[in-house]
Symmetry: C2
Subunit: 450 residues, 2 copies
C-alpha cells in the first residue's frame, strides 16, 4: 500500500522528511501554511537541498511565488542544482517572472554545464516538445561495449544524475540517434559486446527508436504516447542529433491539462488565468466571455423586439418562448461536447466529418419530433388553443435541427480555420439556437395564430 | 521521426504488416473497411496471429463486434493466446457480450494456465485495479541470485511472454511482495549476489515498492500515478500477495476517458452510450437529459406566467427578460466547470470548499455589478425609461450572485452525497438561474415600474 502521509506538525515533518515523497511534503506544507504562514517559511527553509526543488515544484502556484521571494539566492541555487534540467528550467523561468535579477544570480551560481543546458531549454516555447524534455539520459556510442557504458550508468546513478532510466540511446560519432535499447533487452545481452555488434546481430527494426523533434507540438507528442503506448520518447534536433527525452509522467500532466483547458473553454473560462492570485483578474477574464454572451442575448432580444405587437396581443407567447430557445441550447451543447471531444481525441477528422454531421442531425431531428409532440400537447392543454401547440411543436423541430446541425458544423469550421474548436463555439452556438428559437416561434405564431 | 503509415491498399498492407505498429494497421483497416467491407474481412483474416489480437484491440467498437462474429473460433483463440492477460480478458469479455458460447469455446482452446488467469481477471469489476492489471511480470524470490532470475527473464523475453519490463518484483516464499528493484539499479549490481543480500546492503526504503490493492478503484490508482510520477505499480491481493502490475500507458487511457466522461456529463451526454451503433439509442439517452431540461424550462415558464398581466401592460419586459436568465446561466456554467474540474483533480476538497465558494461568489458579484451597469444603461437607452434600467440592473446582480453561489454549492453538495458532481449539476443550476432570473426581473418590474 502506498503510505500517503500528511503531517501538519512542522517539527515532525522535518524529522521524517527523508522518508517522505516530495508530493506528500508539499501537501503537508500546504496544511502548515494554512495554520501559520510564518511557520511555513521557517519549515521550508530547513528542507534539505536534495528535496527542496522537487517539493517547490509540487506546491501550488501561489505558494511557489512566495517561496521564490522568501528563499535566499544561495538556497534556491542549491535546490535548482539538484533538479533535472527540465525542472530546473521551469523554476528558473518562474523566478524570472517575479525577479529577473534574482533568476540571473541563481543561474550564475550553477555549474557551467547546467547553465548552458538551462539557457538552451529556455529557448523553447512552452508548447514545444523541447520544453518538456530532460537532457539527462543514458546514451552510448555505437562502438562502446555494453560493460563500458554500464560503468558510466553506475557513476551517473551514484551521483544521482541519472534517474528514471528505461533504455540506452545509441548514437554515432556525430551524436545522431541510431537506436534505442530497452534495459529489459540490454540486461540479458553479453556485456562484453559492442552496441554495433548487438544491433547488427538483430533484425533491422528491433531497436528502432521512437523519436519526436524538439520543435514538435507537445500535443502531438502526447498523441504519439497514447497511440503507441510509449513510456519514453527520444527528442532529436538538427540533423537527428539526440537532444533529450520525454517520459510518460510528463505526458500524464499534459493530457490532464489539455482536458481541463477544453472543459474550461467550452464553459467560457480561460484556464491560464484561473490560478491567478488576484480574483479581479479572474473576474475580468470570465467577464470577457460573459460580455460576448451579453451580445448574443441582446441580439436575441432584438429578434423578440420585432414581434412586440404579436406578444402584446397574445401574452402566452412570452410565457412559452424561452422553452424553445432553452431546448435548442441544450441539444446544441450535447452535440458540441461530443464533437469537440472527438475532434480532440482524433476520433473525428475531416475524412469522416460528413458522417458525424449526419449522425448529429439525425439524432437532433429524432429528439426534435419527440419533444415537439410533448411540448405541443402541453401548450395545447395549458392555453387551450390547438394552433399554439402546433406552432411551438414546429418551432421545436426547427430549433433542434439547427442545434444539431450547427453544433456539429461550428467546431468543424473553427478547426478548418485552425482555431481551437472549443474556443468560442458555445457562444456561437447559443447565438444560433437563441435566434432561431425565438424567431421561428414568434414568426410562426404571427403567421398562424394572428 | 515516428513513421505513421496508413496503407489503404490491402495487398500492400499485408506485405508490409510485420513492419507496422498494430495501431497503424488498425487505422489502415478502418480505411479499407470504408471502401469495402468484404475486403476488410478478407484482410483481417490474413493478419498473422501474433499481431491479430493487438490489431483488434485498436479497432473501433463497431468493427470489433463484426470481427468477433466473422472470425473463426480457432483464429480468435490463436489471437487471444498471444496477448497479455489483461488484454486477453478484455477480448474474451467482449466476445461474451455477443456470443457466450463462442467465448466459452475460445477459452477452452487456451492453455490451462491462461484459462485460470482469464477466469480470475474476469471477476474484477471494470473500475477495479484488478481489471487493469497484467499478470505477466518479472518477479524473483528473495533467495535467488540476480543471475538466476535474469536467465528466467531471457526465457520470458525469447518466448515473447515478458514485455514492457521496468523492474523486478521481489517476493518471499509466501509470494508476499517485499521489494521492487528498477532495472536501472539491477543492471549495475553484482549478478552473483542474491536479492536478499542486495536489499540488506541498502537503506530500508530504497526498494520500497509502490503498491495498490487489486480492489482499489482505478481512479484512485490514476491519482497515485499522477501524484508520484509512476511508470508502474504493483498490484497485491490477499495478504499482500503479488497479483500483477499496472503500467502508465493504461493509466493514460483512464485519464483521457475520465476527462471525456466529465465533459459529457456536464453537457448532458452519457459517454457509455455514445459509441452505440444504433443512433436511436443515442437519441434516447440524450433525450433523457433534454427531458429534464424541458421540466426546468416549463418551471421557468410557470414563473413567467405569474406575471402575464405585468408583461401585457409593458411588453419591453418580454423583450429583455431572456437576457438576465441567459447571463445567469453562463456565469453559472463558468463556475460549475471550474468547480467540477478542480474537485476531480483534487485541487478543491471539503477542507477548502469554503474558500472556493467565497472566491466564486466574489467573482460573480464583481461581474454582476459590471454587467448590471452595462445592461442598465442599454435598457434605459433602448426603451427610454430610467427605472427599467434600474430593474434589469438589480435583477442582474441578484441572478449573477445566485449563479456563482449555486454553481459552487451544487457540485459540492452532490459530492457530499457521493454523487458524481458533474452529473445533473448543469440541469440543477439552470433551474436556479432561469427561475431566479425571470422571477427577480419580473417581480422587481411589477413593484417598481407599474
Amino acid at each position: 500500500m502506498l503510505e500517503e502521509q500528511v503531517i501538519s506538525n512542522a517539527e515532525e515533518l522535518l524529522k521524517k522528511i527523508e522518508e517522505l515523497h516530495p508530493s506528500d511534503i508539499a501537501y503537508s506544507l500546504k496544511r502548515i501554511n494554512k495554520e501559520n504562514h510564518e511557520l511555513f517559511f521557517n519549515t521550508i527553509k530547513q528542507i534539505p537541498d536534495e528535496l527542496l526543488g522537487e517539493v517547490i515544484l509540487e506546491l501550488p502556484d501561489y505558494l511557489r511565488e512566495d517561496v521564490y521571494e522568501e528563499l535566499s539566492i544561495e538556497k534556491l541555487t542549491d535546490a535548482v542544482e539538484e533538479l533535472e534540467s527540465d525542472d530546473a528550467t521551469d523554476i528558473i523561468q518562474e523566478i524570472e517572472e517575479i525577479d529577473e535579477n534574482k533568476a540571473k544570480e541563481v543561474i550564475d551560481g550553477l555549474e557551467e554545464e547546467d547553465q548552458e543546458e538551462i539557457n538552451w531549454l529556455k529557448r523553447y516555447d512552452q508548447d514545444e516538445a523541447g520544453s518538456y524534455m530532460q537532457t539527462e539520459l543514458f546514451s552510448a556510442n555505437l562502438k562502446e561495449t555494453i560493460q563500458f557504458s554500464i560503468n558510466r550508468l553506475r557513476e551517473g546513478k551514484e551521483s544521482d544524475e541519472l534517474v528514471n532510466i528505461h533504455q540506452v540511446f545509441i548514437v554515432n560519432d556525430d551524436k545522431k540517434l541510431i537506436a534505442s535499447i530497452l534495459l529489459e533487452d540490454l540486461i540479458i545481452f553479453d556485456f562484453s559486446k559492442t552496441y554495433e555488434e548487438i544491433i547488427n546481430s538483430h533484425e533491422e527494426n528491433k531497436f528502432k527508436p521512437f523519436i519526436v523533434q524538439d520543435n514538435d507540438d507537445i500535443d502531438y507528442v502526447a498523441k504519439q504516447f497514447e497511440k503507441y503506448d510509449l513510456s519514453v520518447v527520444a527528442v532529436t534536433g538538427f540533423q537527428g542529433m539526440l537532444m533529450g527525452r520525454i517520459t510518460a509522467d510528463d505526458i500524464l500532466d499534459v493530457i490532464e491539462e489539455n482536458a481541463t483547458e477544453q472543459m474550461y473553454q467550452l464553459a467560457g473560462v480561460d484556464e491560464e488565468f484561473e490560478q491567478d492570485d488576484n480574483l479581479l483578474t479572474i473576474a475580468k477574464k470570465r467577464g470577457f466571455w460573459l460580455f460576448l454572451n451579453l451580445g448574443t442575448a441582446i441580439l436575441a432580444s432584438l429578434v423578440i423586439g420585432l414581434f412586440d405587437d404579436t406578444i402584446q396581443s397574445y401574452v402566452a407567447l412570452a410565457i412559452l418562448m424561452p422553452i424553445v430557445a432553452s431546448m435548442g441550447g441544450n441539444a446544441g451543447t450535447q452535440t458540441l461536447a461530443v464533437m469537440v471531444r472527438q475532434l480532440a481525441l482524433g476520433d473525428i477528422d475531416f475524412d469522416n466529418s460528413k458522417d458525424a454531421i449526419k449522425k448529429e442531425v439525425f439524432i437532433s431531428i429524432v429528439n426534435g419530433f419527440v419533444f415537439a409532440l410533448i411540448i405541443g400537447l402541453i401548450a395545447w392543454a395549458w392555453f387551450d388553443k390547438t394552433m399554439l401547440g402546433v406552432v411551438i411543436a414546429m418551432s421545436m423541430v426547427i430549433n433542434l435541427f439547427s442545434a444539431g446541425f450547427f453544433g456539429a458544423v461550428i467546431p468543424l469550421l473553427l478547426k478548418k480555420f485552425d482555431i481551437d474548436p472549443a474556443i468560442g463555439s458555445t457562444v456561437l452556438l447559443t447565438t444560433v439556437t437563441d435566434i432561431v428559437g425565438f424567431f421561428s416561434f414568434l414568426m410562426l405564431a404571427k403567421i398562424i395564430l394572428l
